[in-house]
């Protein structure tokens, strides 16, 4: 349940008067992740108004979804949030399984949990690394990305692809945990923690970093809820809400982990929430791995699913906790083998529409810091 923290809020920001330099931080810009564009009116360095403009990576995924069968749409889903493709795949698979009304065998659930938490760590690593790069600290990025390479190697040995995974199928997982995971994971969990500690030592208590991030576009909790924030953005504002705890899916209720929350919703809190979440994910993977070892060797991995999936008529909405927040799939089926309407609820869509409120009155450097701390991914944003 959402526990509100009463924080004293003051209204800041310049009054929009007179004409200002319109600075077009365009779709092609080193600090714009993917094809995002912000048309800012600046008064010197402070930003008077910032209008985000999206649509540069709009590929009509939902129109495509209406013309592809259920199993053909799976590879399209990992082009949404390409930093953690496995979370999109599993979200879509679970939505279709909810439509079909079937339950995936426990071993497949555990494999899905382990792979999703690995993808979450990879996504947070990219986000924290890029946040460091945008504020000038280039070195932590490399320490984190090297660990991400190890995680990608596990993905490659499990289902054959590093980034565009299209993991598993509707009804379960197609391969057991690879040999590579059993031999690498004990060492990998320590190197992931070591990389996090090194980033922490380089950045967190460094006064330059703290000046650049503490208090920068802080956000009240009730504003965040009004704007529809979910995930690390909402938790940074102090609301303790995580879909894995509120609406447990897979086997998240048999695994205990904490939910890190910040206080003021500023860039520092978002950074800390992501760093602590990586720690929690490692704990989840350990517990899930222990549960996995108890299952028999030849436990079933897939549920019996017909080759051509024709779900009954009806419409469902299923949401999971992706690294950016609540990633939901709304599928309306009319009984044929193609979904009648697919709507994807991307978590960073709601966050990016509040960009003007987040950034107004701050400086250009804060706009860049804010954008990379939101972890807005154009593929998921424009669908």
């Amino acid at each position: 349940m959402a526990k509100q923290l009463e924080t004293i809020c003051i209204t800041t920001g310049p009054v929009e008067v007179g004409d200002y330099v319109t600075l077009n931080i365009g779709p092609i810009h080193p600090a714009m992740h993917g094809t995002l564009r912000v048309i800012t009116k600046t008064d010197g360095e402070t930003i008077v108004s910032a209008k985000p403009e999206i649509g540069y990576l709009h590929r009509g995924v939902e129109k495509l979804g209406e013309n592809l069968t259920y199993s053909q749409f799976l590879p399209i889903t990992d082009r949404l949030n390409y930093c953690s493709a496995i979370c999109n795949n599993v979200a879509y698979e679970m939505a279709v399984e909810k439509l079909l009304g079937l339950q995936v065998p426990p071993k497949a659930q555990l494999i899905r949990m382990i792979m999703m938490e690995l993808a979450r760590i990879a996504d947070h690593q990219v986000c924290v690394g890029i946040l460091g790069v945008d504020l000038g600290a280039l070195t932590p990025f490399f320490y984190l990305i090297i660990q991400r390479e190890e995680i990608y190697e596990i993905f490659e040995w499990h289902h054959g692809a590093r980034l565009t995974n299209s993991m598993g199928a509707i009804g379960g997982v197609e391969a057991d945990l690879p040999e590579r995971f059993h031999e690498k994971w004990p060492k990998l969990r320590d190197t992931i923690r070591k990389a996090n500690d090194e980033t922490d030592k380089l950045l967190t208590h460094n006064r330059i970093w703290m000046d650049r991030t503490i208090g920068v576009n802080a956000f009240c909790a009730d504003d965040a809820l009004n704007w529809g924030f979910t995930g690390p953005m909402l938790r940074a504002c102090g609301v303790k809400r995580d879909l894995r705890k509120e609406e447990p899916y897979l086997m998240y209720d048999e695994v205990n982990f904490e939910i890190p929350t910040g206080k003021h919703g500023d860039v520092f809190d978002r950074y800390m929430v992501r760093m602590l979440e990586m720690e929690e994910s490692v704990k989840i993977i350990d517990q899930a791995y222990a549960l996995y070892k108890e299952l028999p060797e030849d436990a079933p991995l897939m549920k019996k699913v017909p080759k051509i999936i024709k779900p009954p008529e009806g419409q469902i909405y299923h949401a999971i906790e992706s690294p950016n927040g609540e990633l939901g799939f709304f599928i309306k089926s009319d009984g044929s083998d193609k979904p009648y309407r697919i709507k994807i609820r991307p978590p960073c869509y709601m966050v990016y529409q509040a960009f003007e409120d987040l950034v107004k009155g701050e400086m250009i450097s804060d706009l860049i810091a804010c954008l990379s701390s939101l972890n807005v991914i154009a593929g998921e944003l424009d669908r």
Partner: protein
């Protein structure tokens, strides 16, 4: 008491239809009363979080259903007049996904929008989160939202004429291209 009854007694006569499928409750609400219903659900029902807002185009969904119903009716030799009124369903639907943060219940509120007056009152008053989704529904389906602060196209470029997510818009598109003119003067 269950979600269904709670919603039923909150809305009373506003509830046109109610449908439970795989645990998801979807209620239909008349077009004119949508903002009042959502406000009531937000205050009394506790659904204080708008998770998403999007449109659905049911162009040929009812044609197929009507065809199937016509086929089954021929076999049972029923009188045909009920078929006439019921088959002309409004073409578009706008669905609001609500979430109650305290009890973690989800609710789908559906509004039917006929093709002749594509107009709906905006919900940005209740939730600021509805700002971009409403612009996207306008962009993709052409449903205008009265009172929206900045109703422009969201994903397509502004000079784009058509509404791509409609069922009658071809998948490959109609070959529109965006011409950017830079004023060199």
């Amino acid at each position: 008491m269950s979600l269904k009854d709670r919603v039923a007694d909150i809305l009373g006569k506003d509830l046109v239809a109610l449908n439970e499928f795989r645990g998801d409750l979807c209620i239909e609400v008349p077009k004119g009363r949508i903002v009042q219903v959502l406000a009531k659900l937000k205050e009394e029902g506790g659904f204080d979080f708008l998770s998403d807002l999007f449109g659905v185009d049911n162009l040929d969904l009812y044609a197929k259903a009507a065809k199937k119903k016509k086929k089954s009716q021929e076999e049972s030799e029923d009188t045909g007049e009920t078929k006439g009124k019921e088959s002309v369903q409004p073409r578009f639907e706008v669905i609001y996904l609500l979430l109650s943060l305290s009890t973690n219940e989800r609710l789908q509120v559906m509004v039917r929008v006929p093709e002749d007056d594509l107009e709906l009152p905006t919900v940005t008053g209740l939730w600021k989160a509805a700002n971009w989704p409403e612009r996207e529904v306008f962009d993709m389906f052409g449903i205008r939202f009265k009172g929206h602060p900045n109703l422009r196209r969201l994903l397509m470029w502004d000079e784009f004429q058509d509404h791509p997510l409609r069922k009658d818009y071809p998948l490959e598109g109609k070959g529109e291209e965006r011409h950017l003119n830079y004023d060199i003067a």
